[in-house]
Symmetry: C2
Subunit: 285 residues, 2 copies
């Protein structure tokens, strides 16, 4: 696997692969790669002739009070993990390479960006949309693999690709979980042992809500069921941001029960101690 | 020359040309093509193996009270003009093709978009930046030709290409003028005969201001010289929006005289009757 750190080198490498008739899979990451990322890389490797992983901790998507400087960085381990799971190239640009001058151009996906995570992180998704557009522009025509773990991000990326006609096929991939259900996240390393012990309650709550919907219950009943599970968290500072049942495309809250063939997404976000965790599951009735 | 009206057909056509090793020139327009556009097409044709002209009157860049519905449309004449001047393809998508769903993604180039034309047209440049990003994403790697006539637009397009690493080389081309100096514009057809007679005063004012700077005068003196020329307009309703001397990249107002080797851009905007006209000239000392 080859590590590349210039935009020119990266672009030329992928252009050359495409010119030779090979399909390119792209896995954009912020590094600190874990088995969730590994599953994206392995999936891209199964689907595409060559796979490029990008590792860039994007300052634009961190708020002023967020964990940019503390965000875990582990390039050597990332290189090893990406190579093991079938990556052909890893693009690891510096901040100066990505943003050589003050960035005055921004990409915004309104509506989808304002709610849920956008409520507490008002600039987050504009930072995501901007860097993803730039990563796509650098990479050219690719299949791009994103985890469903960051479901709102996945919806936003799908929409910006459609709205701007980017030559990208977005592939959403299932969330990878610990045995107790906790969704893998680079931020899980922040959890203290008691917080780690409580964290699977998020997934249990989502499953309880999903079971209600599958059984013909209403979105309101599903919300109650999620709340009941979360009420059992004791002994760790816990603050629920939202636990919602939404339309899987528009992310607008649903009311009532699902029609036959109907779909929903259950979203949850909470702070455990100082760590904000998010998770989600999908439902088809 | 082939006329194309689907995004897929357009993308495939240009991809095929590039795959065959041919360079692609792109001339994005809103149609109503005049000799100014012809000069862009001819320049692209001289520089590139194939030339694609796009014709799309972009609703996003018109304000609520602007001339979207009245904007001149002349596709048959545009096709003839483009073919005559060397275009290989003309892409003329419908609004439904460009915006098949409500557009929630927007591209913004802050700072550069806020001043000058942005003052009276607060949503204009976001609409321009968004459609240009989309046209570039559809077209792929190209050289793109824009007239200096819309100088602020040219600066914004250059900056968004740089900020987002789009695979585009932006080429600015000189403004084409009538014999009396009036810059060609699709909106000139709106001018009444007395307005048309007064309109060259804009260019005369720019030249008077430029002469001051070239002679070692200050930006303030250049502004006075422009005002003096404009003060001579009589008998037609005339409203000056701005007549300014600015840095050619940041578009910030300059003060004092230019240093040796220094550059400036003189910008002017005015309403003649119901028609808003803009023009500009560059100065190198």
């Amino acid at each position: 696997m080859q590590v590349i750190d210039t935009v020119e080198g990266w672009r030329k490498t992928l252009d050359t692969e495409r010119a030779a008739g090979r399909t390119v899979g792209l896995v954009p990451t912020m590094g600190a790669l874990h088995p969730g990322h590994a599953s994206l890389i392995a999936r891209a490797s199964a689907d595409c002739d060559v796979v490029g992983v990008t590792v860039f901790v994007n300052p634009l998507q961190f708020g002023a009070n967020e964990d940019l400087s503390a965000y875990p960085r582990s390039l050597d381990a990332d290189v090893a993990l990406a190579a093991t799971h079938g990556a052909t190239y890893l693009f690891a640009p510096s901040v100066a390479t990505m943003y050589p001058r003050p960035m005055v151009t921004a990409v915004r996906v309104s509506e989808l960006s304002a709610r849920w995570e956008g409520t507490s992180r008002p600039t987050h998704f504009e930072g995501v949309a901007t860097v993803v557009t730039k990563l796509f522009a650098q990479a050219g025509a690719v299949r791009a693999y994103f985890g469903e773990k960051d479901y709102q991000q996945l919806c936003i990326v799908r929409r910006l690709v459609a709205d701007l006609d980017l030559p990208v096929e977005v592939v959403g991939c299932p969330t990878v979980r610990e045995h107790d259900g906790l969704a893998l996240s680079s931020r899980n390393v922040y959890l203290s042992p008691p917080e780690r012990a409580a964290a699977p309650s998020l997934h249990r709550a989502l499953c309880a809500g999903a079971a209600i919907l599958v059984g013909g219950g209403t979105a309101a009943e599903a919300r109650v069921a999620m709340g009941d599970v979360l009420a059992e968290i004791n002994g760790v500072p816990f603050e629920l941001a939202y636990a919602e049942v939404v339309d899987p495309d528009s992310l607008e809250p649903l009311v009532g029960a699902l029609d036959v063939g109907g779909t929903a997404r259950l979203l949850i976000a909470a702070r455990l101690g100082r760590t904000r965790l998010i998770d989600n599951v999908g439902v088809i009735v």
